[in-house]
Symmetry: C2
Subunit: 248 residues, 2 copies
């Protein structure tokens, strides 16, 4: 059973769904071949903890499918999500022994793993990997800083709208569409997980979602399926520059 799960994903890097975005994106054929030799797949069920904060971590890897979260917890139980890991995102720190965060599978999750030592050795010899990893880490740092603005300065309503914005954008790029006009996607998080993401309580999350619904910014089919009739309107609600403000 577990084995079946493990095998249910491409063993060939060639037709890997995250091939073009993951840490191996820049690799040449021969480099991929060497990666094939040291890689292995692992599956986790929704709710399972992938890595406990403080634990020694002997592997690194990429999310192939599903969603995981990085969370920090204080002694008294207050928790803050500090990372949201979607397909192609990288988990783990070459050069570090442990994770300072809990990594939890929010949905069923498949990861493409490498034992840490061989991967580190390979990084030394393969600038394409090191280079891509630097690029991805810089992107994550940008995302973390954007998130800091959300946590530090936005209202509850703006926070919810900001999260929906992010989820809508990621869903669009995953399906190779431009983020504009009407958009439809699923919420991969419970109200509580959203609260942990945004530094709110789950009650406030629920109330603000109801308010956005009442005001026609979004509509819901069931609790998790979201329709955004006008993406620009959502961006305004998020307090973002409506033009996205991106620059290469």
């Amino acid at each position: 059973m577990l084995n079946e799960k493990t095998m249910s994903h491409s063993v060939e890097c060639g037709d890997c769904p995250i091939r073009h975005r993951a840490v191996c994106a820049r690799c040449e054929t021969d480099e991929l071949e060497r990666l094939e030799e040291i890689k292995y797949y692992r599956s986790f069920e929704a709710g399972q903890t992938v890595i406990w904060s403080g634990d020694r971590m002997d592997f690194v890897g990429s999310v192939v499918s599903g969603i995981a979260t990085l969370t920090q917890t204080m002694e008294d139980g207050r928790t803050q999500m500090v990372g949201l890991l979607l397909p192609s995102d990288f988990v783990g720190r070459p050069g570090r022994n442990g994770s300072p965060y809990d990594v939890v599978a929010t949905t069923d999750l498949v990861m493409c793993c490498f034992r840490k030592k061989p991967f580190e050795a390979m990084m030394e010899r393969t600038p394409h990997i090191a280079h891509r990893l630097l690029e991805m880490t810089l992107d994550e740092l940008d995302a973390a800083r954007e998130w800091m603005l959300v946590l530090g300065r936005k209202t509850a309503r703006e926070k919810i709208a900001s999260l929906l914005t992010i989820l809508a954008r990621r869903d669009a790029t995953l399906n190779l569409r431009a983020p504009e006009g009407a958009m439809v996607f699923d919420l991969p998080l419970t109200r509580e997980a959203m609260a942990d993401y945004l530094g709110l309580t789950l009650e406030t999350v629920s109330r603000q979602i109801s308010a956005l619904k009442r005001d026609g910014v979004i509509s819901l089919q069931g609790k998790r399926h979201v329709t955004v009739p006008d993406f620009v309107r959502l961006l305004e609600e998020a307090g973002d520059d409506s033009d996205g403000g991106l620059l290469a």
Copy 2:
């Protein structure tokens, strides 16, 4: 005058004060020599903007002395600091054209700069630089995530204590002392800058500092010179695990 300032710092990497922590920390002598050829110093006065958000950025570099901040600003003027740059910290993004943040000199500032293009070319050929930059970026990401917990879940008092903790630690490591017992250092930020760091108003910052003073957690000589009689006490006030919880 400007020239005098520019020249008042070591042109020799050999006796550079940030030599062992900056992006060049791992470089061999010959690599340093090539860096020497493309480097130049720039000075900024307190309050001066180093880079405007959205501007094209044609250089990268290290903070040699002084302090700079990275801030994000919303259209309506709300601002959040997203980075605090101390000596040895790196500014700029190889592979990116513009900065998404304002970079502002908080004190008089000296930077060791490289034109972006030559630096990128050098990175390609010099794994020591790329490797060190990855390491530094991962550290920054950790710091950003720690900060997210502060912004999302801590009380105003805990936020102030957390900031003091960070400043005390950094001052200690800069002076090669262990962070423990009684500590003395200067606040390099105005109350307003602290507020932008912590997602608070400057009034709340002022009140909480007064409260910590009243409760004997800190004492002030003037507005900026801080004495922490018991560092462990400060850590408790910050809501941090008092043992620091660090792991290699």
